[in-house]
């Protein structure tokens, strides 16, 4: 397995406060990383830096061995992002939204792929309904449909479970599982440790600007992990 994503010495201030103080990790293709930490530790900021929305003061992000600044558009074409917000226009229908974003991503055969994806997530009856009327569960399904059409190689997830009911979470996790099975790489920021724990290969806790690593493969049970997490973040 070759190295897929790597960050090196990432530093960032928020105002005058140094939030991230030199962070490194690397991830192989097909791995899943869970990023934990209390509110305000800078998890989302780190995700924004990796995806290129923010520029770090120090440090670099490498994708497939190449610094992303050299080809930011190529990197963005390969990524998918899901957060607690749905990233769709309320006044456009499900199909129009998918069409717009997937065309921007450079996906092809949209005429066939979009109905297929909508069928797969169970939103076919709402293909021509405006997204503004969707519930948060439906919004999440539509997000998944977008990923199915655009077919990213790496997924960034920022608290995606917020506001979802049990069925939607199950559906969402099923998708993440199949995404990983197919060789996809994932980075998840979340507070719901239990939901993503089964999928994750690496667990990093952001604490006062640095990483604390929990080695999942040291035969930890979930309960032991939880105790360790609470100790570190206390």
């Amino acid at each position: 397995m070759s190295e897929f994503l790597r960050i090196e010495g990432v530093e960032k201030s928020f105002g005058y406060r140094k939030l991230l103080k030199g962070l490194d990790f690397s991830l192989h293709q097909g791995e899943a990383l869970m990023l934990l930490g209390r509110n305000g530790e800078g998890k989302s900021t780190l995700l924004k830096i990796i995806t290129g929305l923010m520029r770090p003061e120090q440090g670099k992000v490498f994708f497939k061995g190449q610094a992303v600044q050299e080809d930011p558009e190529g990197f963005r074409a390969a990524m998918g992002v899901i957060s607690h917000q749905i990233h769709f226009y309320n006044e456009l229908t499900a199909t129009e939204n998918l069409h717009f974003f997937c065309a921007l991503k450079g996906a092809e055969d949209l005429k066939e792929k979009i109905p297929q994806a909508l069928l797969a997530v169970g939103l076919s009856p709402f293909a021509n309904t405006r997204v503004g009327t969707f519930s948060s569960g439906m919004g999440k399904r539509l997000n998944i449909a977008r990923l199915m059409v655009a077919e990213p190689e790496i997924l960034f997830l920022d608290e995606p479970y917020t506001g979802l009911d049990f069925d939607s979470i199950e559906f969402f996790n099923d998708y993440l599982f199949s995404f990983k099975e197919a060789g996809g790489t994932l980075i998840m920021v979340t507070h719901q440790i239990d939901l993503f724990y089964p999928l994750s290969d690496q667990i990093l806790i952001l604490r006062q600007g640095r990483f604390q690593r929990i080695d999942k493969h040291a035969k930890h049970s979930y309960e032991e992990l939880l105790i360790q997490y609470q100790e570190i973040s206390a």
Binding site: R55, R76, Q85, H87, Y89, E91, L92, F100, F101, L104
Partner: protein, 223 residues
């Protein structure tokens, strides 16, 4: 790059058509301004003729700024701006798409504003409809270049409703002066060519700010 910008433009126009109230509110805002002018100023035709060029462009600026406020506001719902920025399109395409949307929106308003202005304020303006629309295009190019840049810059800033006009209007002084004098010359029957120097200044303003805004827009789009 142009194709990505065109996709963004097509999406924005579709959104504009869906929520036509944006357009209507801007148009009626312009009418309200006209109404205020009509009440606040002397009513005789002579002074109206004198003031028409200035008032026309002031109306244009005051109502045009509404659309600049809206330009990036539509991307804020559901954090669509993040999705755009995370799509593989360059910041330059976002600038061009947004700028084109603003131009179309404002020129569409001008098409209706010119007859309304001549109806309420200065009748003879209607006879210059097409040259004035052409002039509007040139004025709008400069307005949209600077406006799109500053509109994007102020999206997340506190008191942006005050800050945007405060930053934009002083910078637009050359544009306003040129537009007023060219319209004067149009109304007096001399035509645009009579004030070639002003036309050059106006086009120079357009080109400088089109290029500069395009270049620095990427710095505005970082979070």
């Amino acid at each position: 790059m142009m194709r990505q910008a065109a996709r963004l433009l097509a999406k924005d126009i579709k959104l504009d058509l869906r929520s036509l109230e944006n357009f209507l509110s801007m148009l009626f805002f312009a009418v309200v301004i006209l109404l205020l002018f009509a009440f606040a100023l002397p009513l005789d035709d002579e002074s109206h003729e004198l003031m028409a060029p200035g008032l026309f462009w002031v109306t244009f600026l005051l109502s045009g700024i509404l659309n600049l406020n809206k330009l990036f506001q539509v991307e804020k719902e559901n954090a669509c701006m993040d999705a755009l920025l995370l799509s593989p399109l360059s910041r330059g395409s976002i600038f061009l798409g947004k700028m084109a949307e603003n131009m179309i929106f404002i020129l569409a308003m001008q098409v209706l504003l010119i007859p309304l202005f001549s109806l309420f304020f200065f009748e003879a303006l209607m006879s210059h409809f097409f040259p004035l629309l052409g002039l509007s295009f040139v004025v709008c190019l400069g307005f949209s270049s600077l406006g799109t840049l500053l509109g994007g810059l102020t999206t997340d800033v506190r008191f942006k409703e005050i800050l945007l006009p405060l930053l934009l209007f002083p910078l637009l002084v050359p544009l306003l002066l040129a537009a007023v004098i060219l319209l004067q010359s149009l109304i007096s029957g001399a035509g645009l060519a009579a004030e070639a120097d002003w036309l050059k200044l106006l086009v120079g303003f357009d080109l400088i700010y089109l290029v500069v805004s395009y270049l620095v827009f990427e710095f505005v789009m970082e979070l």
